[in-house]
């Protein structure tokens, strides 16, 4: 047990990889075995990740489960892993959603089952790896690897213009990432110049002294990498295509986990590395976030495709998270981190329901549905709960995060917060309009007459998410109490006196004193 806990992060990274290798040896005709075994293995992975939660010490900001080995000493690259209160929950979200996506695909994925489950498990390795890496090079590798399985998942098992969507996703994020890499390497070299040591260790890189002008340039480089992932307006146009054409599992992982990396990147890298630039650029980024909130909501209202609507709603929701993070109050950052989970849970669930509707009717057009409530009461109830969670109804998870973001941001960014708050009206409009047209009213399309309610497998798929919605809504303390110390440390880290000194320099025009 001691060994298990000590190397738990490595186990979490490599267990899915080992599982994928194991599955390579299974004949691709045994689709049943491939499906059940991959599901079982991802469940084991999820259970492993629960140990993280159990053994996590809530009242410290310090990295836990740390593993540190030399990797490429001449470059200063190390195999350095560790988690804090933020990455803890993102890992749990990743392992849970991977498990859920695998069960959800039994009906949807009919071809190339072997390739699919292997890619999903590889993707899990890369996602977990990205969240636990405290070495910039290691982080970057995992980050880029992640694109490949997702590219294939969209391109192979997608619908419609799937190849276009996959290529767009790939190129969009890749070009962002290259800018990010440039930024990282520049900081790496700067750190070498200042200390004489090569290191990719993020904790050491935090201490790099960077003049404010350069900080801003580097911040913009990192920003491009992360903003595309979030996606922040106006870098969002890959998302509706990718989400809409991806298979259910792809959409769930994309919305549930991949979008979180942008925020995580800002939290772990861009902001603490470049705090002065953050202070200078935060208002501009918040403006983009708030535009995203309103714009995403407005465009959602007139969507005709169910999945495209959910995709645009993500643009809106991620805008709230950007607002909370860059408003830089402890309350709002707490809210943003919690909202990362909430968005993964509720949007993940929404995509699962969109998938169930599509599997039964082979349409995603909102106008084609109607009157399903009569045929499928269980689906209606659970779908409604997810919709309500998404629009931030109190008692469900989304409310807690959204409220903390708004009340925390209000003091520093009063007007922008007010505009963001108005966004919640439109969230109610697009979601309830969609829900009414899809589920309520009378059946007009004869195809809907034979609509079956959810089966046991499908209930098992969404139930964990539904329970989490209520749990976080009624009792968010187990989450907040672990997030809070990390966030408080984050706030203190970015508001050290250096920053203020830099800002004074900028304001007085003394650039190189």
């Amino acid at each position: 047990m001691g060994f298990f806990i000590k190397y738990l992060l490595s186990i979490l990274i490599f267990f899915p990889l080992a599982s994928a290798v194991l599955l390579l040896f299974i004949n691709k005709k045994n689709e049943g075995i491939l499906r059940y075994l991959s599901t079982f293995l991802s469940l084991v992975e999820f259970i492993f990740s629960i140990y993280l939660f159990v053994y996590f010490k809530p009242d410290t900001y310090k990295f836990q489960f740390v593993e540190k080995f030399h990797w490429i000493p001449s470059f200063g690259a190390s195999y350095y892993l560790g988690i804090d209160g933020v990455s803890l929950f993102l890992i749990l979200l990743t392992t849970l959603l991977t498990f859920i996506s695998l069960i959800s695909s039994y009906r949807y994925i009919r071809e190339h089952v072997k390739e699919f489950v292997i890619l999903m498990l590889l993707l899990e390795t890369f996602m977990v790896g990205t969240f636990v890496s405290l070495d910039v090079l290691l982080f970057y590798l995992f980050w880029e690897f992640m694109l490949v399985p997702m590219y294939f998942i969209i391109g192979m098992w997608g619908t419609g213009k799937k190849v276009y969507a996959a290529v767009k996703f790939f190129l969009y994020t890749l070009s962002g990432s290259l800018m990010m890499l440039f930024g990282f390497i520049y900081i790496y070299i700067l750190h070498y110049e200042q200390t004489g040591n090569f290191t990719f260790n993020i904790v050491k890189l935090y201490n790099t002294h960077i003049p404010i002008g350069l900080q801003i340039i580097l911040f913009i480089a990192l920003f491009l990498g992360f903003a595309v992932k979030i996606p922040l307006f106006p870098f969002h146009t890959w998302l509706p295509d990718a989400h809409t054409e991806a298979p259910t599992a792809g959409s769930v992982i994309l919305a549930g986990v991949l979008l979180k990396f942008g925020i995580y990147g800002f939290f772990r890298f861009a902001i603490p590395l470049l705090p002065s630039a953050t202070y200078v650029l935060a208002p501009a980024i918040i403006i983009l976030g708030v535009i995203g909130i309103i714009y995403g909501a407005f465009v959602s209202v007139v969507q005709k495709d169910l999945k495209r609507l959910i995709a645009f709603s993500s643009v809106s929701h991620m805008g709230f998270i950007v607002l909370g993070l860059f408003a830089m109050s402890a309350i709002s950052v707490d809210g943003s981190v919690l909202q990362l989970l909430n968005h993964g849970i509720s949007t993940g669930a929404l995509f699962l329901f969109a998938g169930m509707l599509y599997e039964r009717t082979h349409t995603r057009q909102i106008a084609d549905f109607g009157g399903i409530a009569k045929k499928a009461p269980i689906l209606t109830t659970l779908f409604l709960i997810s919709v309500l969670a998404s629009i931030g109804l109190p008692g469900l998870n989304g409310f807690v995060g959204e409220f903390l973001i708004l009340i925390g941001s209000f003091h520093n960014y009063t007007v922008l917060t007010i505009i963001a708050t108005i966004g919640i009206i439109f969230a109610a409009i697009y979601m309830l309009r969609m829900f009414q047209k899809v589920m309520f009213q009378d059946i007009t399309n004869p195809e809907m007459e034979n609509f079956e309610d959810m089966n046991l497998r499908e209930i098992v798929t969404v139930l964990p998410l539904i329970l989490l919605m209520f749990f976080i809504g009624f009792y968010p303390m187990p989450f907040l109490s672990r997030i809070d110390p990390t966030v408080l440390h984050f706030i203190s880290m970015v508001s050290h006196h250096d920053t203020i000194y830099n800002i004074i320099k900028l304001k007085t025009g003394l650039s190189n004193v």
Partner: protein
């Protein structure tokens, strides 16, 4: 655990467990879920009465169930404040809920969503209870939205009907508009005082600038305008009549819509320290009281008439809290809950008898066919018209007398005019529905409703007679005033009470206003001295204004909704697809030239990609181990 604490938390938890039970296992309870749901709520009622007695003989207290959100310096618990105001509200909410639950067993009998109905009704009762016992603004806001959700789901209960699901959605969205104001008010309050706990907030209010207090109060009031359906956000309430009638009685007359008045009474410190905000409350209340009554004059749908009447009566309550007469506002809230609940339940009984018919023009002569319903309706109508000794007389008169004696003469005149119209429209309804010749559809056989429905009517009617006497003796000496005023003693007295006129003179004016309204309706619809048709053509523009509900919906549609949708489509089709995505694809296609050259690497063989990828990972690992 202290027994008071236990009782306090059992009151909401009983209906909460009911929600889960009938919601999850409804099909196993079959038709009994209605009885069980009623029992749960009745138990909450009894506990509320016990709590009422405890608080009357000792003093209030607060209790925290568990810490809910602790993030940095933002700390909020699931906590209750039990004082005289909250126990009065508790008894009213659970009492009316019990009666409506029992009535619903008869009304919803045989509906295929029977258990679903009671599950949501229980959820509503839970939310409403929590709303009135919350001890901080966040929790209040939570249940403020939660009752709105219950309202949404119950208005759209018959979801197959487009009009019903439209109405539910409209209620939710219009309420959200108000809620946004409310939320921003909470943010500002927190930014100013650093807390959301009532007691802590109230201590700080006298110290913060009046301007800030005014802004906070006005923002909170925006929420009240939405929830309590005041002008100009009243448009959802008449449509909400699409829901089952007991829901209209409970949610859209007795409880949820009064949350705005409760909120202002609860925050009397904030509102009384801002005379400007109070003035706005008074103005909106007065306008709503008048214009809603004006619209009700010409409508033909019986539920919608009663709905407009509710908007109008809520307007009176806002007048009361707007002039600082908090006890008078709450007194009218209680008395209105009873007589308006009664009116809705009797309207439901009429609908039930006439197979869902709501149009006054297709009724008439029902008195002889359903005497209990008719008599209880008339009792409710007399109470609404402010005729002594029915409860509405005491409670409405207390408000109007206070407006006069606190020097708001204009509001008083408007209030009396509205009282005249009130008596007119409700007796117009009575004369058209219950008297005169029958215009019933030949297929409909009107009959008295079952005992399950009439007994609740009789109980409510008796209460409508009794409750008013809590309002004697007049002014600041009444039983109700003496009981409740303790909670409001810290309010800033911005409009001192001066006895400008003795109570009997003021009462006389009110009673005359009511009686003349009834008499006018009698002349028009029974004696037919003047044909209503003639009046209609003689005052055509005014009639059209009233009949078309001041064209508010049409104005919103033209000024807000249509332009917004044009904008939405523009943003999507032009900005998103053409401008932003067009730019992205433009950049991409300029690279297409180069891509031809690297095409060979992408041979489309998935396994070869996986292989390459794995080799890469393996190579890195290998390096790590041998380094």
């Amino acid at each position: 655990m202290d027994y008071k604490v236990l009782i306090t938390w059992l009151i909401p938890l009983l209906p909460l467990s009911g929600w889960l039970l009938w919601g999850l296992f409804g099909k196993y309870f079959k038709g009994y879920s209605g009885y069980f749901a009623s029992l749960f709520v009745a138990a909450s009622f009894i506990l509320s009465v016990i709590l009422f007695i405890i608080v009357s003989y000792s003093h209030g207290f607060t209790s925290t169930l568990y810490p809910w959100i602790h993030a940095a310096n933002f700390k909020v618990g699931i906590s209750a404040v039990i004082d005289r105001l909250s126990v009065v509200m508790l008894v009213m909410v659970t009492g009316v809920s019990t009666i409506v639950h029992v009535y619903s067993i008869g009304y919803m009998k045989g509906d295929k969503g029977f258990s679903r109905y009671f599950s949501f009704l229980n959820l509503f009762v839970f939310s409403m209870i929590m709303l009135v016992i919350s001890n901080n603004l966040l929790l209040l806001y939570v249940f403020w939205e939660a009752v709105g959700f219950c309202s949404y789901i119950l208005i759209g209960f018959w979801y197959e009907k487009k009009s019903a699901s439209d109405a539910g959605k409209k209620a939710f969205i219009v309420n959200r508009v108000g809620d946004v104001g409310f939320a921003i008010g909470i943010f500002l309050l927190f930014a100013t005082t650093g807390t959301l706990n009532y007691e802590a907030v109230f201590k700080m209010i006298p110290m913060i600038p009046v301007f800030t207090t005014t802004v906070i109060a006005l923002l909170l009031f925006v929420g009240a305008i939405g929830k309590s359906a005041q002008l100009p956000l009243h448009i959802w309430l008449p449509d909400a009549m699409e829901g089952p009638t007991p829901v209209s009685a409970l949610i859209h007359a007795a409880t949820m819509v009064t949350a705005g008045i409760y909120m202002i009474a609860r925050f009397h410190i904030i509102f009384s320290y801002s005379p400007v905000a109070s003035e706005v409350v008074l103005t909106i209340g007065t306008l709503s009281a008048f214009f809603a009554a004006f619209i009700a004059l010409t409508q033909f749908d019986i539920k919608r008439i009663i709905a407009y009447s509710t908007i109008s009566q809520l307007g009176y309550m806002f007048m009361a809290v707007g002039i600082g007469s908090y006890t008078a506002g709450i007194f009218h809230l209680i008395s209105h809950a009873i007589f308006k609940g009664l009116l809705f339940l009797t309207a439901g009984s009429v609908m039930h008898a006439l197979a869902g018919e709501l149009d006054l023009r297709k009724m008439g002569g029902l008195y002889s066919k359903m005497k209990v319903t008719a008599i209880t309706f008339i009792v409710g109508a007399l109470a609404l018209s402010g005729i002594p000794p029915f409860s509405g007389f005491f409670s409405k008169d207390a408000i109007l007398a206070d407006t006069y004696n606190k020097g708001f003469y204009f509001a008083w005149v408007i209030g009396e005019l509205a009282a005249f119209m009130t008596a007119f429209y409700i007796f117009r309804l009575i004369f058209l529905a219950f008297f005169g010749k029958s215009n019933l559809d030949s297929k409909v056989h009107a009959h008295e409703s079952s005992k399950m429905m009439t007994i609740p009517l009789i109980i409510m009617a008796s209460l409508a007679v009794i409750v008013g006497f809590l309002g004697v003796p007049p002014f600041n000496t009444s039983i109700f005033y003496n009981f409740l005023h303790v909670d409001f003693k810290n309010a800033y007295n911005f409009s001192p009470f001066v006895e400008n006129a003795p109570w009997y003179l003021l009462s006389l004016v009110s009673v005359l206003a009511g009686l003349s309204g009834i008499f006018a309706a009698y002349l028009l619809y029974i004696r037919k001295v003047v044909m209503p048709e003639w009046l209609k053509s003689a005052f055509k523009p005014i009639y059209a204004l009233s009949y078309n509900k001041l064209y508010v919906d049409e104005i919103y549609d033209f000024l807000i909704i249509k332009p917004l949708f044009v904008l939405f489509n523009f943003l999507w089709k032009i900005v998103d697809v053409s401008v932003i995505d067009g730019a992205v694809n433009g950049v991409a296609s300029s690279f297409a030239f180069f891509s031809v050259k690297v095409k060979k690497i992408q041979n489309g063989m998935l396994m070869s990609y996986i292989l390459t990828l794995s080799i890469g990972v393996a190579a890195l690992l290998f390096y790590y181990f041998i380094r």
